[in-house]
Amino acid sequence: MSTLAPLDPLIALAGGLLIGLAAAVLLLFSGRIAGISGMVARAVGIADSGTPRLQALAFVVGLPIGAWLVSASLRQPEVIVTSSIPILVTAGVLVGFGTRMGNGCTSGHGVCGVSRLSPRSLAATVTFMLAGFAIVALARFMVGG
């Protein structure tokens, strides 16, 4: 993980603005919250209510298309994943279960909810951030990283 090159803060900011623009357009044109965990659950039929299924599916399919467009034109990412299969599976199950139980993830709560000062989203965002910090700290001290 020490080989991670620093990212220009302006590029991080520009990426963030694109994400926010997506959320803004979706809200103003369709009246929907750009919550990805909800969209995914809806797209695969795990959730019964929310964004109409075809729209949820279109949004979810758009994510890798957008990522591919950027990697093919602007910036080829150097993706570093150190997690083993058991870690990836555990993390995936926790993320899937937790986002359904807490009604959202980094996008729905973290970006959309916090920017409209929703008390639930503020509480959820503080909680998942603290949990994230805690797990990484725990992993660091257990592995001795």
């Binding site: 990522a67 993706v79 993320v95």
Partner: protein, 145 residues
């Protein structure tokens, strides 16, 4: 149909933002969560950047009677912070910190040719399905929300 196109376009924009800001890179996310290591602030710039258009759009949406291409806004009204929200967010945050993937970046990251997001997304869907199963058992007959 128009709303499906809006969903696809906003999904593409969102995915492009995730790739540009390197949020599709789990090492970048973990470096932000790693307070005791070589801390990387990129994620804070991304979330801050995303909140600017999202907040402006929300303030603007309050002055509109309906979205531009739809009959009504679907903004969550619930303001109650309950145990389910906090527990869910904590479970999500733990999974997020464990592998550095949340739902959007994992799905957007499916196009970079590495196998890890495939494993993560499959496990995430299983986690979502598991939540659906357990909540169906709790409220028999009622759809899971």
């Amino acid at each position: 149909m128009r709303q499906t196109i809006i969903a696809l376009v906003t999904g593409i924009l969102f995915g492009a933002g995730l790739a540009l800001s390197d949020m599709i890179n789990p090492a970048r996310v973990i470096a932000f969560l790693d307070l005791f290591g070589n801390w990387d602030p990129a994620l804070a710039f991304v979330m801050g950047g995303a909140m600017i258009p999202a907040a402006i759009a929300y303030v603007f949406s309050r002055r509109l009677r309906s979205p531009i291409m739809h009959t009504k806004f679907h903004i969550p009204e619930n303001r109650i912070v309950d145990r389910q929200l906090i527990t869910g967010a904590a479970i999500f945050g733990a999974g997020w910190g464990l592998a550095g993937y949340c739902p959007g970046p994992a799905i957007a990251g499916l196009v970079f040719g590495n196998w890890q997001p495939v494993v993560f997304v499959a496990a995430m869907l299983a986690g979502m399905w598991l939540h659906r199963l357990t909540s169906d058992l709790q409220h028999r007959g009622q759809p899971a929300i």
